[in-house]
């Protein structure tokens, strides 16, 4: 809706833009030639006042960032990637544009305009002390002024558009509160551009020129001290934030030392987190895409970031005051903040949409998981289901709390070979594959696919959970136990390559386990099957079957695997896309350990997604994660009522159904 509103506004303005830009090419910028001593004195005083005010307001922020805890694991390497991301995300504004095209382009024009204006502004002040280095008389100056003029026009139009969007269209993601400062800043930017452009149309040497010059100057000088106190601080900080952000998506940093249990209090906030908290531009993209926020839960990722910021402002980076309000001693200075609560923190499915969407390099997951770590590692989080899960992992080694003998029974009954070092792949079953009836079907079918392709494989004799739910729920003790057990088991069995049907297992083994050792190479079964797609049967008879593919968060955003599963789906029928797909895919509600917790408040995430998938009218829902599969199983029947419900099949099942029955 927001974007549609903007189109209307922009459409109306477009002819004017063309008209004006045609006109100004031939115009020359008028600059004052002489400044009196008084004027120069006044200018220097104003500049110093504005600069002073800026630093007076900015210094405490800088101080809080610098006095936050050091990020123990931080490394600038690989610099190449950082430079590339800086160029792509900051200079090219790729993320800003890609995820919200219209306001994104408007923002990019403002940003690029500012860059173009840097030289003009410098020259502007230099002129005030009669040291101007660009003059309309020179070729360079003449060209540059016109060049900047084009940008000024684009900035003026863009900022006006953004102003209308913010104050009249008012997308809900920007928050209920109207930010008057944003309005003032937009007006200042608009004034800067207008005063610049107007100087093309006035006679040189007149009073008007001086007046325009001074208005422009004052607008700039008022703008400067406003920056540190508003979301416009991102002008200064976000390029740095993007450049310095942690290397890797949803990267949970290792705990450092014996006193680190995660984000318990201010003293645990690291410099990167501080920097990110102060960089937030409050655009609300994180919240717009959050499966918890959009289904009526308390969690609001933007408010978590702003909560961190206001905590830093109030208590500072050395405080012992608990970050989450249930753990705080409440007082009038310390009111509860429902967004900074355990309830909110434990509603996160860790789907990663927030972190993926953020245009200023904020990494929400290390923060939200960090808050959970602070609550779980200290025992402050008391939840019946969570406790049951942790005890099940401690005692049974699987998230479902079933006897490990159940896995043995399945392996025997299914006739799965035990990995003995002679096979190429270790087939990792995972909790779902080893214990869940539906997960077992997927394993059985994938095993058939592997046999059909002539790939040798075996399963570990004993296998425990990767620790994924413990990791995401912030239980480092259980996670470490699981990771170390798994690493040892794989090493003892001399495994070289692993393949798994569960994206959570793949992610945790390949990525999170690194804290404790290096696991053998692992891939998801979609990647494995896609490599052999030419040898897998194309299901001609099924060509009419429409299959909607659901991107699992941990395969898509976490692993960047979007096309491989689609290639498999395309072999089995006609691929259909849901409204939200690929990197914008909407969570099934199971991640972050939530599959094991109790009933969620608000609407069920799985229902929302199931509805969306069913609205495509596809006959089949294709999944690539056993957790998504199990979530949709309940949701489809609940949402679909008595109507014909789509089938729910994993990509391994879609493939296996076309294979000839293997005898023996």
């Amino acid at each position: 809706m927001a974007d549609a509103g903007c189109v209307a506004v922009w459409g109306a303005r477009l002819p004017g833009v063309i008209l004006l830009s045609n006109f100004q090419i031939s115009a020359t910028l008028a600059e004052p030639e002489r400044f009196s001593g008084l004027e120069m004195g006044l200018l220097v005083a104003c500049v110093m006042a504005a600069g002073g005010l800026f630093f007076w307001r900015f210094a405490p922020i800088l101080n809080r960032i610098l006095h936050s805890k050091k990020d123990a694991d931080f490394s600038l390497r690989p610099v190449g990637r950082r430079v590339w991301e800086f160029v792509w995300e900051v200079l090219c504004q790729a993320k800003v544009i890609r995820q919200r095209p219209l306001p994104g382009v408007a923002h990019a024009f403002v940003f690029w305009g500012f860059l173009a204006f840097a030289l003009v502004s410098l020259n502007h002040f230099a002129t005030g002390v009669e040291l101007g280095f660009l003059t309309p008389d020179g070729v360079v100056g003449r060209f540059y002024f016109v060049f900047a003029g084009v940008w000024a026009l684009l900035v003026a139009v863009s900022i006006a558009g953004l102003f209308v969007r913010r104050f009249f269209v008012r997308p809900v993601w920007l928050g209920e509160k109207v930010s008057y400062e944003s309005g003032l800043i937009a007006l200042l930017i608009f004034a800067l551009m207008v005063t610049y452009l107007a100087a093309f149309f006035v006679e040189p040497g007149g009073v008007a020129v001086k007046a325009l010059w001074w208005t422009h100057t004052l607008a700039l000088l008022v703008f400067l001290p406003l920056i540190p106190h508003t979301k416009h601080l991102h002008l200064v900080l976000s390029p740095l934030t993007v450049f310095l952000k942690r290397d890797g998506f949803s990267k949970i940093p290792p705990l450092s030392g014996d006193e680190d249990f995660g984000l318990v209090a201010g003293k645990d906030i690291t410099q990167l987190i501080s920097l990110q908290a102060y960089s937030c531009v409050e655009c609300g993209r994180c919240t717009e895409h959050c499966p918890a926020s959009t289904t009526g839960k308390v969690l609001n990722p933007k408010e978590i970031i702003l909560g961190m910021r206001s905590y830093l402002n109030e208590f500072g980076p050395a405080s012992e005051m608990a970050l989450l309000s249930e753990a705080r001693v409440e007082s009038p200075d310390n009111p509860p903040n429902r967004y900074m609560s355990m309830e909110a923190a434990f509603e996160c499915t860790t789907c990663g949409s927030c972190e993926y969407q953020c245009p200023v390099g904020i990494q929400h997951l290390p923060i939200i998981v960090g808050l959970r770590r602070g609550a779980t590692n200290t025992g402050a989080w008391e939840d019946t289901y969570g406790t049951k899960l942790f005890l099940a992992l401690e005692k049974n080694g699987n998230a479902l709390g079933l006897s490990a003998m159940e896995r043995d029974k399945f392996v025997t009954k299914q006739g799965l070979p035990i990995f003995d070092g002679s096979q190429e792949y270790c087939l990792w079953l995972g909790c779902m594959g080893g214990y869940d009836p539906k997960g077992r079907e997927i394993i059985a079918d994938f095993a058939r696919v592997m046999s059909y392709l002539g790939t040798t494989f075996g399963v570990l004799k004993k296998e425990k959970c990767t620790g994924d739910p413990a990791r995401r729920l912030g239980n480092d003790l259980v996670f470490q136990t699981m990771a170390e057990y798994g690493l040892k088991a794989l090493e003892a069995a001399k495994v070289q390559k692993i393949v798994a049907i569960c994206p959570h297992c793949v992610r945790t083994i390949s990525n999170d386990w690194r804290e404790y050792g290096i696991a053998p190479e692992i891939e998801h079964h979609s990647e494995f099957m896609a490599r052999y797609k030419d040898r897998l049967p194309k299901q001609v008879a099924a060509a009419g079957e429409s299959i909607v593919y659901h991107d699992p968060c941990y395969l898509g955003r976490y692993r960047d695997v979007y096309e491989e599963p689609r290639e498999i789906v395309a072999l089995a029928g006609t691929l259909v896309e849901a409204e939200r797909s690929h990197e914008r895919s909407f969570c099934c509600g199971a991640g972050g350990g939530l599959a094991f917790l109790g009933e969620e408040s608000g609407e069920r995430v799985s229902h929302v997604r199931a509805k969306e998938l069913m609205e495509t009218g596809a006959q089949t829902i294709g999944t690539a994660c056993p957790f998504c599969n199990t979530m949709f199983r309940d949701a489809v029947s609940a949402v679909g009522g008595g109507q014909v419900q789509p089938q729910l099949l994993d990509i391994a099942q879609l493939t296996a159904r076309a294979l000839p029955d293997v005898k023996g």
Binding site: Y385, K388, L400, P437, E599, T630, D634
Partner: protein, 318 residues
């Protein structure tokens, strides 16, 4: 006497079923060791008798009116010392678990508890590791051997003959010997459904089709005196309240019997009921995973099987 003494348990003058099973075990043991079997019952007075035993004792004292471990131990210590039985057999009730180990200790003995079988020797069979193993136990030293028997392990005989008249034994007990103050027995008010405490649960799943059909399952539950429970889809649809949901997001139950009707057995459901002692499943799909965990399975149309079963249970009850 060197025979077998069975210590029975009564409440309000009525012997419980487990006591009669203990008498059956006592008779078997007596036959094996070639001795007589006698019985004793404790209380403040009176006490129901059994037939076909050598002797019956009624241990009576005002301080035995309410059960206390101190009072029962004092009384039985005196009775055992007086009678000198070779074996003392108890039903393995909660009350016996409370005092019998203490009594055995007074004789320098160890209670062989929760016995499921008696073999020549005599050898007492008990289960270890939640029934994964059986173990043979024997008395190693001399003195009375104390044994308690598991519920349901010995078939209680029908007491057909006339009860053997009880000889009253009055032990010496001082009020000061009794250190604990027992309160009245009570039951928790059943305002909320506590499936976790239910002994028998009849649970209904998606196979029931629609809300109106739940009635037939409710009738089955009523016939069995069972709590009605459900799998998640039923509660999600609002056909039964959420508090009746069994599974990972509902309650975890461990009844003596879990009767699953039209439940396929998704993992989220199985984790909530895997502790059940016996599972019966009725489902039309022979491949339903619920059969993996069931002791008894019926592949069939629940709309036919359930009403028949209700009828048969009501007939068996009457």
């Amino acid at each position: 006497m060197s025979g077998v003494l069975v210590v029975m348990e009564q409440r309000g003058g009525v012997l419980n079923r487990m006591s009669l099973e203990a008498v059956a075990a006592g008779r078997l043991l007596a036959a094996k060791v070639g001795a007589e079997c006698s019985v004793a019952v404790l209380g403040a007075g009176g006490g129901a008798g059994v037939s076909d035993v050598a002797k019956a004792y009624s241990v009576e004292h005002a301080l035995l009116k309410d059960y206390t471990a101190d009072g029962y131990c004092a009384a039985l210590e005196q009775l055992v010392k007086k009678l000198g039985p070779g074996y003392v057999v108890f039903p393995h009730t909660y009350q016996v678990r409370d005092f019998a180990p203490k009594l055995a200790t007074r004789f320098g003995q160890v209670l062989i508890s929760d016995v499921i079988g008696v073999q020549d020797g005599p050898v007492f069979v008990r289960q270890l590791l939640q029934g994964k193993l059986n173990a043979d136990y024997k008395q190693a030293g001399a003195g009375p051997c104390f044994v308690s028997v598991q519920a349901g392990s010995f078939r209680a005989d029908v007491e057909a003959g006339e009860a053997v008249a009880a000889e009253v034994f009055v032990p010496e007990i001082e009020a000061a010997q009794i250190r604990s103050k027992p309160g009245e027995l009570f039951r928790e008010s059943a305002q909320t459904v506590d499936l976790s405490a239910a002994q028998v649960i009849v649970s209904v799943g998606r196979g029931i089709g629609e809300q109106d059909n739940i009635g037939i399952v409710q009738e089955l539950a009523d016939a069995l005196g069972a709590e009605l429970a459900a799998s998640r889809p039923i509660c999600d649809n609002g056909w039964l309240p959420m508090e009746r949901q069994v599974g990972s997001s509902g309650q975890t139950v461990a009844p003596k019997l879990y009767l699953a009707v039209g439940i396929s057995g998704a993992i989220q459901h199985l984790v909530g009921m895997k502790g059940s002692k016996a599972v019966i499943a009725i489902n039309k799909d022979e491949h339903a995973p619920i059969f993996e965990v069931a002791d008894f399975g019926v592949v069939g149309d629940l709309f036919e099987v359930v009403p028949e079963l209700t009828k048969a249970i009501l007939a068996a009850r009457s």
